[in-house]
Symmetry: C2
């Protein structure tokens, strides 16, 4: 056992994993990596990054500083990231100097809603009707085809409902374009779904793929509120959803944890899946794995990027994950006293409205 | 939610927990603390301390530097420790400047085998026959009374079999005294036990006490090799062992996790417990709790010293914890590939013989 890299790029314990981004996902990745004997170097522009508190090394720098990126790349054995909005130039620069996983191609595909939807369609997966929007003319024509209500979303850099606007029957298309600052966009037809579900897939460096049990998600104000596992869907639908996730991971030649969010549509008792979006990273809807499975999504992501065998994704308990948004985390004392609840707090100093401060996993014996 | 201390000394998320000692126990305490939103400041004389890699702040200093200790005490909201051999002067100095938990009294009681055994006896608990040894005359007289074989142990600062020597029928008492450098000692009668078990107790700041399921331990070369839960003992004996642990914690007005190691003696189908020793800290025989219980011993220790409600000690799975000693950790790749096994590595650079490098928890559905 020693420092650094073994043959075939497999990282031995003692190696250093570089993490771009210092939020709660980076923090949970870092503690999972430490459990496997790795050191972590966290790179973040924010000096107050929650992940810094559990990292062996820290770089505070903008993602544009090539000097800082080069020093970072030189100090680590692999680079991974906790968010999909890593600037393309940053990812490309780093991948010239270090192993970057998941790869730059997967990152690029997920950064552009249009590319992503075209990929899904090319895989034969159902997505909501969509059209590329570069002008008001495009939008007017697309609304004719897709119908109303529809949702106009920027192609790049949206999350938690940012960068999107709903266009209802009476709404002015020009105002919608202005609301997203005339960024290149995609218009999506409205899907009347009964449930939102997600697949948390992990794919290793040798192409082995596994998927955690499908999670059912409830959003509030465009932010994930709860994830429940098992999802109340038919077993065949759950298997299909896992297959969708794994197919996408394979198509992207993906390494690491990938989240695939899907809508469930019910028609005459038949369940159908429509892929909503993918996230090339550990995902909020996979936080239940920390307490409901032997190995969490964070451990499996680290194993994948380190070239290790994947850990089992088997679930040992039922779980409901509830996000603690803003002031909800002020109830930490009551949550800490609740039997069967496991509290996770992110160490953020300030609880701004809408900010994810922590989550709680409520665990019950496995029934489903 | 803010930094620092709430009323009644309850620590809010964002508060800083000081940990004396930077080994694997400190490391696992630090990651457990981070999950609850705390920051950790680790104090260790060793610049290569595994716990530094997951700590928000680090002090590298001897335990004798009052200047470093004062700065440390001033930067944290509570001080705890990962090892029982904290010098008494260090603990006393710190407790004048900060809240130190578990308290100095419990630490002192566990640092002296004679005090410890007298305490057990005063509680009506059975211990091996023993005698205080300060001279060769004491030893010769004690051997007459206790019989041979017996074990001569230094009163202070022994662990993993260090500072103890067995005296068999033909052995020279003077040589035994020389082997422990004529330190003040205790002679212990030899106990013919069938099993070794331990109770991992946690006691909170308001006196609430809980105990994990009793663990059965196997030592090799005086170092813990495996811990298995549930222990193959009668249910009443397990309940009695839990009661023993909780009584000791109460007698010490203890706060935090306390380990009580016991011998199980079988006579005519009846099981009897003999207290061997206590450790005022998280303990190797409680590592299974990381993967076999909803909340680990590390989380419960942090909750206790922070003044939080304790988490459930309920076990959801059966578990066998196996230590990885020295070169055994070189098998990390095979262990990582084993289904149902959860690998924990401590990030130690050098795998010296006898050094604890990691452990693996093998988890199976709960039957016992």
């Amino acid at each position: 056992m020693g420092d650094g890299v073994l043959v075939d790029g497999v990282l031995a314990p003692g190696a250093t994993i570089g993490i771009l981004g210092g939020g709660q996902l980076g923090r949970m990745l870092a503690t999972a990596a430490a459990e496997l004997g790795f050191r972590c170097h966290v790179f973040s522009p924010d000096g107050e990054s929650p992940a810094f508190d559990v990292a062996a090394a820290r770089t505070i720098s903008s993602y544009e500083s090539q000097q800082a990126l080069a020093a970072f790349a030189g100090s680590v054995d692999v680079v991974t990231y906790e968010f999909e909005n890593v600037p393309a130039e940053t990812a490309e620069f780093l991948s010239g100097q270090a192993m970057v996983l998941p790869g730059v191609g997967a990152l690029a595909a997920s950064q552009d809603r249009l590319t992503e939807k075209e990929l899904m369609r090319s895989l034969g997966l159902e997505v909501a009707p969509f059209a590329a929007i570069d002008s008001l003319d495009d939008l007017v024509a697309a609304l004719e085809r897709v119908g109303r209500p529809a949702i106009l979303k920027t192609r790049r850099f949206g999350y938690d409902g940012k960068g999107q606007v709903k266009i209802g029957p009476g709404d002015d298309p020009a105002a919608a374009l202005a609301a997203i600052n005339h960024h290149p966009a995609v218009l999506e037809g409205f899907v009347t779904f009964t449930r939102e579900v997600s697949a948390i897939v992990v794919r290793g460096r040798r192409g082995e793929t596994a998927c955690y049990d499908i999670t059912e998600n409830v959003h509030r104000n465009h932010i994930l509120a709860t994830s429940t596992v098992p999802a109340a869907i038919q077993p065949e639908t759950a298997e299909e959803a896992k297959g969708v996730g794994m197919r996408i991971a394979e198509a992207l030649d993906y390494v690491g944890v990938l989240a695939v969010e899907m809508f469930l549509v019910e028609e005459g008792g038949r369940e159908r899946l429509i892929v909503n979006e993918i996230a090339p990273r550990v995902h909020n809807s996979g936080h239940w794995t920390q307490d409901g499975a032997l190995a969490s999504q964070f451990e499996n992501h680290i194993r994948a990027v380190a070239g290790w065998p994947l850990a089992s994704t088997a679930r040992h308990s039922d779980a409901v994950m509830t996000n603690l948004i803003g002031a909800e985390a002020d109830d930490w004392h009551a949550l800490a006293a609740e039997p069967g609840a496991r509290l996770h707090l992110y160490g953020k100093a300030e609880s701004r409205p809408g900010r994810k401060m922590g989550h709680v996993n409520r665990i019950t014996p496995k029934r489903g």
